[in-house]
């Protein structure tokens, strides 16, 4: 059996209907303990204070914000190449979630920045690239909204997603020419786990997994809604012609 079978809306709806309860449960048992562990049971760092605890929201949301866009990129490519409707609907469904995650990362970062850097916002390359990502999400969603015909909208938003990704990369590179950079990267990096004490690292990994599961759950949920909306439209059209 090929994975493309799930591109059939019917098959997709059946499978996900069975999957959803499990996903919700899994999300609950990773996300809640992760956050609770992180917030209540991990020590405060000597030079970070209580504010360090925001890391359990900040890092996972930033992680999802980027990866949601990558997922949309892949889904858009699949739509353009293989014309699988569910794929592009999943991309459409992921956009608002990605936008929200970007917003959470921005806001938690700002809240964290105030005690750490003494400023809510600085034009650091990494922060800036998040702001740009935020705008890309906005544009992508606005284009979906603006176009009436669903297939046209699917094609055009997919094209925008691909072209936009290239330019997003370019602007990320462009900001590296700026003289300054405040944002931590190596100090608490996931890739360089040895820099982080285990006490921070373990709950962090748990909440990241929780966020990933949350993302998958939400995307599937929203995709199901989109599939239903499309089906409603198809039925209405048929009724109209009759």
């Amino acid at each position: 059996m090929s994975i493309w079978e799930y591109a059939n809306p019917k098959k997709f709806m059946e499978t996900t209907a069975r999957l959803m309860p499990w996903l919700v449960a899994l999300t609950a048992v990773t996300l809640i303990p992760g956050l609770v562990w992180g917030y209540f049971f991990s020590p405060e760092a000597e030079n970070f204070g209580t504010s360090v605890k925001i890391i359990y929201l900040h890092v996972p949301s930033a992680f999802i914000a980027i990866n949601a866009w990558i997922m949309m990129l892949v889904a858009s490519l699949i739509w353009l190449v293989r014309r699988h409707h569910v794929s592009v609907l999943a991309a459409k469904a992921a956009a608002p979630i990605g936008l929200t995650m970007t917003l959470i990362a921005l806001i938690t970062g700002a809240i964290w920045g105030q005690p750490m850097w003494g400023t809510w916002w600085a034009w650091d390359p990494r922060l800036t690239s998040f702001l740009v990502l935020f705008i890309f999400y906005l544009g992508y969603m606005a284009l979906w909204e603006a176009i009436e015909n669903p297939d046209t909208a699917a094609d055009l938003t997919s094209i925008l997603c691909i072209v936009g990704s290239v330019f997003a990369l370019l602007s990320r590179y462009a900001t590296l020419f700026w003289p300054q950079g405040l944002h931590q990267d190596a100090s608490l990096s996931l890739d360089k786990a040895e820099h982080v004490a285990d006490v921070y690292h373990r709950p962090l990994v748990l909440s990241i997994i929780g966020f990933v599961l949350l993302f998958i759950t939400l995307v599937l949920y929203r995709t199901r809604t989109e599939v239903r909306a499309r089906r409603l439209k198809a039925l209405q059209a048929r009724e109209r012609m009759a």
Partner: protein, 228 residues
């Protein structure tokens, strides 16, 4: 030179509008598309013009053989009538000489120097029709070409079509009025259109349904009655 349409299905705004459209047009023939408002005449013409892909079926004709005339005339209001025509002549690689003939044929010679925005509705329409002569294409696919034309201009237009047909051209027109042309009619009915069936109205659906089965691609969202 011919135009052959077999089992064509077209959609508009993602909605299936026509299916099972069958007809054949030989050099020198004209076909009038008839049918009530909203039946899909515009949709069919746009599909034939290649502006939208057919959902199913086949359109057989030579490349770049069709000249499309839409509801809108494609005039630039700040350019003069002559400049408008000259642009289309250059796009289609037609000589300057043709432009004068086209102006003459639609009684536009006096208006050649006027900017298009200062023309009346019927004058604009005549200018839009004059463009057809400059495309040098064999098949004219026209959407309500006579809108806003007075009786005299309708005659001018009918004569232009006749001359085009006499020269081996073809014409396909959606119109609600009678042009007095010797032309077959294609009656569009919801979801089905076939000139052979137009005569035997009320003959029931059984006859052509087997032969003309349409291969409309399955709408992935229409079928799943039992979506969970």
């Amino acid at each position: 030179m011919e135009l052959e349409v077999a089992d064509l299905a077209c959609a508009r705004g993602g909605v299936l509008v026509l299916e099972g459209v069958n007809f054949r047009l030989e050099a020198g023939e004209a076909l009038m598309l008839r049918g009530p408002n909203g039946i899909g005449k515009t949709t069919l013409l746009r599909t034939l013009a290649g502006l939208q892909p057919p959902l199913a079926g086949r359109i057989g004709m030579a490349d770049e053989a069709l000249a499309y005339g839409a509801h809108a005339d494609g005039l630039k209001s700040t350019l003069t009538a002559l400049e408008n025509l000259r642009f289309w002549a250059r796009v289609h690689g037609t000589g300057e000489g043709e432009i004068g003939r086209a102006l003459e044929e639609f009684n536009l010679a006096d208006l050649a120097g006027r900017p298009a925005h200062s023309l009346s509705a019927g004058q604009k329409r005549r200018l839009g029709l004059a463009r057809l002569l400059l495309t040098g294409r064999a098949i004219w696919a026209l959407d309500e070409p006579t809108v806003s034309l007075d009786a005299e201009s309708v005659r001018l237009f009918a004569r232009a079509v006749e001359r085009h047909l006499a020269g081996g051209g073809m014409a396909l027109m959606a119109t609600h009025i009678d042009l007095g042309l010797a032309a077959r009619a294609l009656d569009l009915t919801p979801f089905r259109a076939d000139p052979d069936r137009a005569g035997k109205a009320g003959a029931g659906g059984a006859d052509g349904a087997g032969a003309g089965r349409v291969r409309v691609p399955h709408d992935p969202f229409a079928g799943a009655e039992d979506l969970a």
